[in-house]
Symmetry: C2
Subunit: 652 residues, 2 copies
């Protein structure tokens, strides 16, 4: 892949980007502001730039006059980088580069870490839960009347040193015919005991040699989305992956409304059936995509939060939402998957991740196991940010966890133009430090119709650093821009005028939106503070941070630190681990070491109920500022704010 | 209960009977012949007797002339014993008592042995498989968030020293609501591990204290009849018992026809469903009869022959009837009873007795366990006589077993007027040694319509001892009686003339019937001989005989020895153990010691395939006589036959 160097003037900022990268996105990445209202669709015509050296592909538009084109003007949002270029950004007032560069830091996403099979093997943690053995059994005769099952078991004992074997009924049912299909040449699938001294279950018998086909399914049962992976147990590879909305969404967006639905009439049965249907849809998809035979799928591992787990298992979640908030159980025994309604062979056991408490569930335990947090020496903060945010702090020796109710702001809830991260959502943003004109980049580069969670964080961070809003989240009423206005008693910033949107009105960010975001981030930050304090530590003691959840993959770390969602730390210490729940489910599909350790680990995890922890409310109130009442917790930001103040003063 | 002494003259035989006993049955028991054709219904008027001393109740009839009544004549079949009496039997020719007393031996049934709970306890074999514990749990609070299951398990650990506990999903589903029904006062039902080191499963949780209600169900799945018992696990008592025809009968009388049905289309599913329906009918009946709550029934133990077991478990029995006759499995893991379709609570596990081979099944293993054969020092012969007869020989140190196909003669099959032991079946019989007139006693004392298995044995034995048939089973063509005749080339004996029957023709016993009986008993006797020979023993080495099966309870032991079905031995050594399969199922419901030992026991049992044992055919051919080619195997019978010959000679 070719890389090209782009230099932006008058900023004198350079960045290397891949061949074919969109110019406006490259500018955003470099932290260079270009006015842009329409999200990148090319209709507002505001993102005019001048190609000073080199060439770009495209960028022409009716919105540019012929003479401007000849002068080298292009629309940044329509231009592709195909070689080294120098780009001039026309600035509407005469300011020096230091002001232009107030555009805060370049976007910085967390490094993505894949925990994989070879790592397991290297660490000696690979204990296959499912093994296949090919056997050529002697055929029965007048002199050898051994019953079919005894024939198989005895052969394994004598020739493969396999002892303590157990054959389940569905397999006994198959054995007589299967043995006779290929003259008593068969492959036995053996599920190894998780705990020493228990029995190995022969869970399947197939005609001929099928030892090269051994698969498992891992599922993350999310409140919003359910993901499934089809895993090759020999190579450790994910052969297919698919995600779909949890069918329960029609009955309520969040866990509380699901619980309420489940409490009425046949609601629990319905919730159970609907999520099983979703999982079956995913199974069907990944089975088809990977082309494997269902009979070669030997296990299914699942993780979900406490409510999702109880609904999936048809365990009444009624008391999860009632003080003192106790779940039915933390540990669930392995269960026949087909008995739960899952479309897998009769012999497949469903392994469900254990829970910690009503609001720290199997998804978090899966994350702790899958990320390796449970075996690291480093003091780690694990955060899964969503409507309900869960926090774990600790290392291999101890762990503490807590859940905080952040509310739906990160998913667009409670935000006037909030939306999920879908086409038309503003996902990146900057603001001109002088004119306060916006630069909106949308998902799909189409005209904006809303703001997604990661976009919202960037927006508020940028506005705060640019002085557009103060540390209380209020707009600066004194700025010289039409975009800040009061409407129906609420102050707001117009991100895009009606014509530049897909909606028939101005797209705005209101002070109420900002307040909601501050509350959400405050709940999480103060949760971390409280949890750390309870175990006698502070945020500065952390060696690393693991960010889990779909949200984490898009969030700009620096901006998240600016608003005080994440503690200020070296971004290198932050690792994005993606869907931690799915990761944990996958890891336990691959090795018994995880299955073995998980119960002990859950016992090690001390759960704190923040609502009953006295200091939580104090921390929460202190965090209802940008980034926080105590700016000393954010020294780098403080330095930048001081610097900005100096520059702005010098400009006046 | 009052007993009365009856003296029969001119025989000079006495017997003590219970008050109210029927006179003709008392005579039969004493070995005194009274002519009687109509089975005891009082219509033939042949059983005239004279009351010489004392009185009887009833016995009057239109068939008696007034003057005869005055002389003391009564119909024996209509008369009840209510005090000591002397009864004269009118004899039609002048013979002395020695001839009259040729009526062979008094009827002798096997002593019935009940293996009961107290015996288990005395022998230290009582290890309760299911225990209940009443618990008063602390209620959750803001300071105590333990999940419901954890609360229960921790309490059991701390306060009841219970460890290695496992809670199954159906219980987890119930726990949240159950705990809150009576303020966290609950009873936990715990299924103890059969093998040390395994886990105790908490299989049920009930509100309040239910520790006094702990029940189990035991089932014998017979080919013809299914029996169930509801057992009180605290007292060991059987609270209710019920038997019903196995619904599969409509699809075939014997195991082979059932297997054939199961091989076609949905046949297996059908056979499975039908027997489950039968069991459910029995469960419904015994639950209603005993008045227990289904939720207090914690286990179900079942035993059946190999085919019945496989059909019940929906395991294809195809290869049971095909050389080399191998069953699918010998051992079956515990299975969720509700999953098999049984109408019991979700938490109930079905425990199915293991098998030995295709034709020595779980019913026999249950018999071996239930009868205590597996732990006796005595060399024991265990016989379960039916269409398929199974034999076990051995003691606590070793066991050998075999199955012989006796054919349906003992159940009335292949016998012209054969029938099951039901109303109207001749169940007892004697013959006048001079006139060769019959004495038929039927079940229900109604006119005869057929012959049941136990009646057939008596009939053939009596006729053989009286010289009516020879040792080849042929009628003596020279006797002076109309009852022996040739019809359509087959010789037969008329048991009852048309008018004395419920059918519209003469009721007869043919030489073909006798031949079939001889084949059946020959198969069994030679089976015992062969099995003993294979282990280096002979019949005289036996310390005791256990007779199992419905058949055994009615069979006259002496007569069974006369025809050579049973080896000649002291009747005191023979114990009738009833439905051994049900007995074993009951015992394993009561104690884990049986569940624990049974697998080892089955490994100890050496199965012999008689069809492949060279000597079997020789033994079989030699046994196709009454009682056997080698009369020295039956010395007491030989002495009686010699004696009879002498008496008859002296009469001439």
């Amino acid at each position: 892949m070719d890389f090209h160097k782009i230099t932006f003037v008058p900023h004198n900022k350079s960045i290397e980007v891949r061949n074919g990268e969109n110019l406006i996105r490259a500018a955003m990445e470099a932290g260079v502001h270009i006015n842009a209202s329409c999200g990148g669709e090319g209709v507002c015509g505001k993102c005019r730039v001048i190609i000073e050296e080199g060439e770009v592909e495209g960028g022409l538009s009716e919105r540019l006059k012929k003479e401007d084109i000849e002068k080298g003007y292009r629309l940044a949002c329509r231009a592709k980088i195909v070689g080294d270029v120098t780009i001039r950004i026309p600035v509407e007032s005469s300011v020096d580069a230091s002001v232009l560069n107030l555009q805060s830091t370049p976007r910085r996403n967390a490094g993505i870490r894949e925990f994989d099979f070879s790592e397991l093997k290297e660490q000696g943690l690979f204990i296959p839960p499912i093994e296949k053995k090919y056997l050529e059994l002697p055929e029965p005769s007048a002199q050898d009347h051994l019953p079919d099952v005894t024939r198989l078991v005895s052969f394994l004992k004598l020739n493969h040193d396999e002892h303590r074997l157990m054959v389940d009924l569905p397999v006994i049912r198959k054995i007589p015919d299967i043995l006779r299909k290929e003259n008593f040449k068969v492959t036995a699938t053996m599920a190894r005991p998780v705990h020493e001294g228990r029995k190995t279950h022969i869970i399947n018998v197939q005609p001929g040699d099928t030892t090269d086909r051994n698969y498992a399914i891992a599922v993350d049962i999310g409140t919003t989305t359910v993901y499934g992976q089809l895993i090759d147990l020999i190579s450790g590879e994910v052969l297919a992956e698919y995600g779909d909305f949890n069918g329960q969404i029609s009955y309520g967006e969040d866990v509380i409304s699901r619980i309420m639905f489940a409490e009425k009439g046949e609601g629990l049965e319905k919730m159970h059936r609907v999520v099983v249907e979703t999982i079956n849809k995913i199974i069907a998809r990944i089975v088809r995509k990977s082309g494997v035979d269902r009979d070669d799928i030997s296990s299914i591992t699942l993780a979900g939060n406490t409510t999702m787990t109880q609904l999936f298992l048809k365990v009444n979640p009624r008391y999860i939402r009632r003080a003192p908030y106790v779940p039915a159980s933390t540990i669930y025994p392995p269960i026949k998957a087909a008995g739960l309604g899952l479309d897998v062979a009769d012999h497949v056991a469903a392994l469900v991740y254990p829970q910690i408490s009503s609001y720290v569930g199997g998804d978090i335990v899966a994350g702790v196991m899958g990320s390796g947090l449970y075996r690291t020496d480093k003091l780690t903060l694990f955060m899964d940010i969503g409507t309900n945010a869960e926090i774990v702090v600790g290392n291999k020796d101890w762990m503490a966890c807590a859940a905080c109710s952040a509310g739906p702001a990160f998913e667009g809830g409670g935000i006037e133009f909030g939306m999920r991260a879908a086409k038309g959502a503003i996902e990146d943003f900057s603001i001109d430090p002088v004119t306060f004109e916006p630069m909106n980049i949308t998902i799909g580069s189409v005209r904006p119709k809303g703001i997604c969670g990661s976009g919202l964080i960037i927006m508020v961070a940028v506005m705060f650093e640019m002085g557009v809003i103060d540390n209380g989240g209020k707009f600066n009423r004194n700025l010289d821009t039409k975009r800040i206005r009061e409407k129906d008693g609420v102050w707001e910033y117009v991100l895009a005028w009606q014509d530049d949107t897909q909606i028939d009105r101005d797209l705005v960010l209101t002070e109420i939106d900002i307040e909601n975001l501050i509350r959400a981030k405050g709940a999480i930050y103060s949760g971390c503070q409280t949890l750390l304090e309870e175990v006698g530590l502070t945020i500065t003691d952390l060696d690393q941070i693991f960010l889990a959840g779909g949200f984490g993959s898009y969030v700009d770390l620096e901006k998240a630190m600016v608003i005080g969602l994440l503690p200020e730390t070296d971004p290198e210490k932050i690792t994005f681990i993606g869907n931690a729940s799915l990761l944990g489910a996958k890891m336990s599909a691959l090795t018994n070491s995880i299955r073995h350790d998980v119960v002990e680990i859950t016992k090690k995890m001390t759960n704190f109920e923040l609502s009953e922890t006295a200091s939580y409310m104090d921390h929460y109130v202190a965090s209802l500022f940008l980034p926080h009442t105590d700016l000393h917790l954010f020294p780098k930001l403080k330095a930048r704010l001081d610097e900005r103040r100096k520059i702005m003063k010098s400009q006046k």
